[in-house]
Amino acid sequence: MSGTARIERRRNVQLRLSVNGEDTEVSFAPYKTLLELLREDLGLTGTKHGCELGECGACAVLIDGEPQLSCLKLAIECEGRAVETIEGLARGNALHPLQAAFADHGGSQCGYCTPGVIMTAKALLEREPNPSRDRIREATAGNLCRCTGYQQIVDAIEHAASELRGEAK
């Protein structure tokens, strides 16, 4: 692991992407995943670092509106893409309806899986404003939660959906 070729290679690379609606330019080590870029180089630690292997869904973020796993995405492949993370949901002090519903329904206990679930649910509700409970389960089938038993998560997403449709009492 020595020699000039290696040293040459260990230079940072520059990348432009949009993070939560803001154009961002960042310099980082090219072996990093999007998860590592978000947490270590952009200070956005809301996205959680779970299994690192695609077996839990804790690191899910939206890339061009689609839920993907940031732990298995090379940051270098995100040039020009729009990335949305949990930090981009609240508007000032006002929580996003999904965040509020998760708090109200007990959809979050230890909270580690929550950012990944909420981002996945956000993508679902943008495409399907009125999903059935089965459809919610299917869409979030890539997010493991060890606390809630999933009932409260489905309740919260269902409630947030009605809130976003403007139907909630």
């Binding site: 260990r10 090219p30 690192e52 796993l69 995405k73």
Partner: protein, 338 residues
């Protein structure tokens, strides 16, 4: 925390350029498409390519074309594949297989070509570096012994792709492109029964396209055994396809098993030709499939039971082909409507 090892990164703009890079770099280069199979392996130090050649920018690999059959670009994500118009109606078995791969997020990333080239899997292999070091590694990577069967001369890692059995049952072919030229082969010819050298793809070849023949008169089905309704690789995959006459007589049929060998296992169905898919005919093929299947003790669940249910799963698939309503059974087994 598992970091990726260092690598050079290339993002060619055309298949030709990608092929040239592969030819130039030789064994040190690997292709990356969705990355959902390769990156976990790189984190666990199974594969440490000097150079990653990204297929991300190759629009040619995203093409879908209808003609005498269906041509599918290998770079389509599994979600994009599932959105191809008419896929579910014409090639139901493929849609059922693709819909059951991994999780929704991973299907938004992983590609058709990636699932065709998926690394074989084993409990003694899919572990991090320290875990493997503690058992002095295995012959698939860094070691000498196959821990599944220590007398085995070859690696017994399991072919774990869902889409390949479905595609072979449908008679798919694939196109492989290298700097020196291209070739088209039957998909079944891409694999061999060895956990290490499981692909007959040459290191400088790029799998660019999957070609499906016309679906006229064909019906297909895929059934997957796994512990959970999501995430898991197959512990058994059964794909069946048949061309049926109007009265239900079988004109042609194929049955392919996944996850019971280091390659997709094609089961002879000659006995079905000219007959109808009666309960007896289905049971006979199921028994033949069960006796051919050789699951090993290197994945989830009890291996004797996994062998035992091959006949049942072949039965589900063949009954679905003859038109039985299998939706309740499918919901119970797949835990989703696909």
């Amino acid at each position: 925390m598992m970091r990726l090892p260092w690598f050079d990164y290339r993002a060619p703009r055309s298949v030709e350029e990608a092929a040239k890079i592969l030819a130039w770099e030789g064994d040190g280069a690997m292709l990356i498409a969705g990355g959902t199979d390769l990156l976990p392996n790189m984190k666990r130090r199974h594969q440490m390519p000097q150079t990653l050649v990204s297929l991300r920018q190759l629009e040619a690999l995203k093409k879908v074309a209808n003609g005498s059959g269906l041509r599918l670009g290998a770079g389509l994500t599994l979600s994009e594949l599932l959105a191809v118009r008419g896929l579910r109606e014409r090639y139901r078995g493929l849609a059922q297989a693709a819909a059951q791969v991994a999780t929704p997020q991973l299907r938004n990333m992983g590609t058709l070509g990636g699932n065709l080239c998926l690394d074989t899997r084993c409990t003694y292999y899919n572990q991090n570096y320290e875990w493997r070091k503690a058992i002095d590694f295995c012959m698939k990577k860094d070691g000498a012994v196959c821990w599944v069967a220590t007398a085995s001369k070859r690696c017994l890692a399991v072919s774990s792709t869902d889409t390949v059995p479905a595609l072979i049952a449908l008679g798919a072919r694939v196109k492989l492109v290298a700097a020196a030229g291209e070739r088209e082969i039957a998909l079944a010819e891409l694999y061999q029964n060895d956990g290490i050298e499981y692909l007959k793809r040459k290191p400088d070849e790029i799998l660019t396209e999957v070609l499906l023949p016309k679906a006229d008169g064909w019906t297909s089905s895929y059934w997957k055994l796994r512990r959970r309704g999501s995430f898991d690789f197959p512990l058994l995959g059964v794909a069946a396809a048949a061309k049926l006459a109007a009265d239900g007589t079988v004109a042609a049929a194929r049955l392919v098993l996944g996850a019971v060998s280091s390659h997709p296992l094609v089961i002879k169905c000659d006995a079905l030709i000219g007959r109808k898919l009666t309960d007896d005919a289905i049971a006979a093929i199921g028994e033949a499939a069960e006796s051919r299947a050789k699951p090993m003790d290197n994945t989830d669940m009890d291996l004797r039971w996994r062998k035992h249910v091959v006949a049942d799963f072949a039965g589900y698939a063949l009954r679905e082909l003859r038109g039985d309503d299998m939706s309740a059974m499918r919901l119970r087994i797949a835990k989703q409507m696909v």
